[in-house]
Structures are given as C-alpha cells and as structure tokens.
C-alpha cells in the first residue's frame, strides 16, 4: 500500500558504553554457547598426543561406523522432513484455505504445539504403547483384522519404526509454520485468477504453489535439521541400536568408544556444519518469501 512511513528514527551516536547494555547477553552467549562450540572445533583438529591433525576430519569420511551414522541420520531426516512436510502442509491447508469451520484452526494449532513439544522419552513410550509388541494398535489389528504386524516383519524398534515416531513431531511443526504462510495467500489472487478464467487446479499450479514454494522448502529444511539433531527419542526407543550421529556422539561422551577423542569432536563438528547449512538454507528461502510478499 502506498503510505508515507513514519520519520526514521536515526539511532543516537553510540560509544562503547551503550554496548555495555548488551554485554551480559554477549557474555552469557560466549561462556555457554561459543566457548563450548569452539572447544569442540579446535579439539577436532587434535590428535591423541595433542598435536594438530586433519586426520579426524578425514576419518569422518572413511570410518564405516561414522559414515554409516551420517547416512542413517541423513536418511531419517530427509524421509521424515518430506513425509512430515507433506502431511503437515495438507493439514495446514485444510484449516486455512481448505474451507473447514473456523473453530477447528485453534484446536489444530494447540495440538500441533503440544505434539511438536512432546518429543523425547514420553513420545517413545507412547509409541511403544501404540504399536509395540503389546501395543494397542497391534492388538486391534490382530484381533479384528487378523493382521499380525510383527510376524509380517514390522518392528517398532527399527529404522522404519523410528521414522514413524519422528513423524509425530515433524508434521505438527510443519503445520505450525505453514499455517501463517497459507494465510499470506491473498484471497484476491484466487479471485483474480478465477476472474481471468482459471480453474481451481490452474490457480494452485500457477499461482499458489509457486508463491508458497519457498516457504514449503524452507520449512522442510527446518524439519530436516530438527530430525538430524534429535537424540532422546531415538535413545529412549531403540537404546542406541540404530547408530545415528547423535547416538554415536552420545556414546562417545559417555566413554571413548572410538578410542580417539578427536574423532568424537570431529563428528560433532560435522553435525554442526550440517545444521548450519540447513539453517542458512531456511533463512535464505525465508528472505525470498518475504521479498515476494511485500
């Protein structure tokens, strides 16, 4: 809209004393965020005798245990980001432009908030009670439909089972992110498209989806990072049998299972790099969305 902005308030000239106001925050961040992270980074370049080495980084790509850990982590993150992304988007769609009664949206949003926070130990137990060997659904399927999940090969305590559990906090997160994005779809765009002769499908394919794509991709990248960094759920469910990166790091913290502390640090740094790339991707796509929808 063409409006004159309020006069820009030029910030008062600052000297170092003004920066004192944010000093406590910076100090806290340095002490408990940057220092530990830095320590991990420098330690990842240390050999067991203390000298500088690039060996640890190299071994990230050669040691089978570690390569496998990254492969598993990337797989489960990608799968649940995609699956959770699609289901979450559809859910957000249904309560925003989908035409459901307005009262359903706050209910969905509250539940999504709860579910995306419900990860960790309680979630693992909940799924055990649902589709574990003695779980509710397992029984229902056996007794009423004659379908024996576990004989058919399904196992909750496997990669597939863990993915299912991860989905529980992934798709609500997607719904929470996409609902405001879908709100940003102006009603007039749809009307203008209809007015110009487009069908509903044509509107979605040519206008709505292209406009939403940066948000959707950005959110999925966020979901990827979300799953990659998860630990408690996996540990509570499988006890460390599925060797994703976080589990391996956890094992390394407890006791030097790799017989080379530097390697553990390198794994941690590798993970931080992946998370950082994921965050950068999300931020870039966010900026793109905002620019378009100004």
């Amino acid at each position: 809209m063409a409006q004159t902005a309020p006069p820009k308030k030029t910030p008062a000239p600052t000297n170092w004393k003004t920066w004192l106001g944010v000093a406590p925050f910076f100090l806290f961040a340095i002490l408990f965020l940057f220092l530990p992270s830095l320590r991990l980074i420098t330690a990842s370049f240390s050999a067991p005798d203390g000298s500088f080495t690039l060996d640890n980084i190299k071994q990230l790509f050669t040691v089978p245990l570690i390569v496998n850990a990254y492969k598993l982590s990337i797989q489960i993150s990608a799968i649940t980001a995609l699956g959770g992304g699609i289901l979450g988007f559809l859910l957000a769609y249904s309560v925003t432009v989908g035409g459901l009664p307005k009262s359903l949206r706050p209910i969905l949003m509250t539940f999504s908030g709860v579910a995306s926070n419900f990860a960790g130990v309680p979630l693992a137990f909940a799924f055990v009670a649902t589709i574990g060997r003695q779980g509710f659904i397992t029984h229902v399927l056996k007794d009423y439909l004659g379908l024996d999940l576990y004989s058919a090969g399904f196992n909750l305590y496997s990669f597939a089972g863990l993915s299912l559990v991860y989905m529980y906090f992934q798709f609500p997160l997607m719904a929470l992110i996409m609902a405001p994005a879908l709100d940003g779809l102006k009603r007039e765009w749809r009307e203008a498209a209809e007015n110009l002769g487009a069908t509903s499908t044509q509107y979605w394919l040519r206008v709505a989806m292209p406009v939403l794509l940066p948000s959707i991709l950005g959110a999925m990248i966020l979901l990827f990072g979300n799953a990659f960094g998860a630990y408690a759920t996996a540990y509570a469910l499988t006890g460390g049998r599925i060797g994703i990166v976080t589990i391996q790091i956890g094992a390394q913290i407890r006791g030097d299972v790799l017989y080379n502390p530097g390697l553990g640090y390198a794994m941690a740094v590798g993970m931080v790099i992946i998370m950082a790339i994921s965050l950068a991707g999300y931020s870039w796509l966010q900026a793109k969305t905002e620019r378009w929808l100004r």
């Binding site: 809209m1 063409a2 203008a192 209809e194 110009l196 002769g197 487009a198 406009v211 378009w292």
Partner: protein, 352 residues
Amino acid sequence: MSYLSLQNLTKQFGDTVVVDNFNLEIEKGEFVSFLGPSGCGKTTTLRMVAGFETPTSGKILLDGADITDKAPNQRNVGMIFQSYALFPNMTVAQNIGFGLNVRKLQKEVIKQRVDEMISLIHLEAHANKYPYQLSGGQQQRVSLARALAIRPQVLLLDEPLSALDAKIRVSLRSEIRSIQKSLGITAIFVTHDQEEALSISDRIVVMNAGEMEQVGTPFEIYNFPKTRFVANFVGSLNTADAEIIDPANGIISVGGVQFVSAEGAKGKNKGDKVKIAIRPERFSFAAQQHKDNVLEAIIENITFLGSVVRIQIKIGNSSFNMDTFNNPFLELPKIGSKQQVTCSKEAVLVLE
C-alpha cells in the same frame, strides 16, 4: 435491450439485507459508478456481477445471456481489485498474459496481445519486472492491462484508486477513463469518493444501506439531488429547517426570513415543516448581481481554502456557508459587517 441488466438483485447474509432490490440497465460502452459510504452494498453488488457472491434473488443478464448462476471463471468480465492482486511470482508480462495462457491461446497471439496491452499502459520498460519492484500506481495499471487482455465484455473496478496517493489517483482515473472510452468497453466503477465518480462517469448510482438513492448523470446528481442523503453525500450543502408560507409562489420561511424556491414548494401545503438545501457556491454578493433572492447577511467567519474562499454568513438566525472563487484583487468583507447576498430561486432545494 440494454447490454448489462441487473434485475431485482438482492443479497442477504442471515438476517442482514446487504443489497435490496437493485435494478439497473447499463448500455454498451457506458461508464457507471456506484457511489456510497462504506457498507452501502456497492462492492457486494459488483461482486455479484463478477460471480464472487451469489445473489439471494434476482437476475443478471449480459448481452442477453443469463449469467446469474455462472461460475466466476466463465463470465468473461474483467475485475480490478483495490489491492491490485497481481500474482507475485510472475512478471508484468506474465501477469498480463495469464488470462490468455489459461485460455490456451497460441504463443504468438499471447505475445502480441501482451505487447499491445503493455504499450496501452505505457510500461514497456517494466515488462520483465516483478510486482514488488513497481509502485502502487504502476501495479494498478498492470492490473488494468491484465483484465483488458482477455477482451472482457464488462470491466469491473472495485475502488481501484483508494490505496494510491492523491496525485496518482487523479492522473490514473483519467487514464482509466480514456482507455475505457477508446476501447468502448462497458464499465462499473465502485468508489466512496464523490469527486472520482463525478469526474469520470456517464452515470452515477448513489447507494445507501443497500438501496439505490438516485441514478443520474453527474450533473443531475449534483445539481438536482432527490433525497437528503444524496444532497448531503455529494458536494457540500447548507441545510436549514423551514416552513412553507405560500406553496403557489414557492415562498418558504427560514427562521423568519423569506426565500423563494423554484420547484421546492410544489405539492406542499402551507405550514408544512421542511428542510431546505442550498449549495455554498450558489450564493454571491448582491453588489455584483441581483438574483431572485436578496437577503441580509452578517459575516461570521472567513476561511481561505486556496482557490475557494469559504465565508460563513448568518441569515436570520441560520448559518450558511458561502463559497466564492478566490480573487486577489477583490477586497473581502470584514467579519461582523452586514452584506447583501443573493441566490437564484432554482438554487433553493427542498429535501424529502
């Protein structure tokens, strides 16, 4: 047979009647404005023509065909929105070509039509820009081109200028009008700004609370308002309570002072209490010229408005505003002094 016929259109939401029995016949190539305050139903009526609202009852006929039940994407009417509604993921050229694309016309045909439209709105240099790179006025012009590209039978404009700066509003409205005239396209223009409606319409429909107050040319609406609402809404107006003295000769008493009205007293009885209305610019100083009514006035206040000078005068015990053109060489009377003012008997209106 008129080109666009709106017959007994009514729209009801629950218990609220938003548009009540709207009837209008519009000729091909005519530019009609719906003028009224917020909530009067003008936008709802427009949206019924576009197909975004379904009438509770009534019919819409376009060039003889009944389009009342047709879906919005099948009506071949072009709509311009207040918020421009340009597709943010497409360039100017792609936006304009959208309707043609959807109709699956050939690439060459589309390109030619798009180029034609872009030069119509003089935005050749911006053809590959995205909406966020354009100003409000430019975006609205693209929106116009986009709607015209599909060669619609009717152009519907929903307060297209309300979001723009004052200067752009003035230039863009004449641009819209000249494009409409040169293409000969029928148009309905919704606005709450009377100056817009008066300056560019062939006819104006003044609406209030879902009902049509008056339909007429801008000249008619302004000079011969039929209802109190129209008189108040369009142009500024002086009103005062009065009593009919002599219906046959049109003599009306306003607080003891006698006015002569041309048509106003017709059909009324002696002693009827009415409200009279006189436009401020119909008053002038009697020193320059004598008209039918010559009245004694006391100057109460003088406000300089630029090209117009507004003088508040007291006639009898009623206050009136009198507008005269600013003339730097004419000395204005002093506040508190007595002057003689005059106005013709046609200027004295009696409101329903």
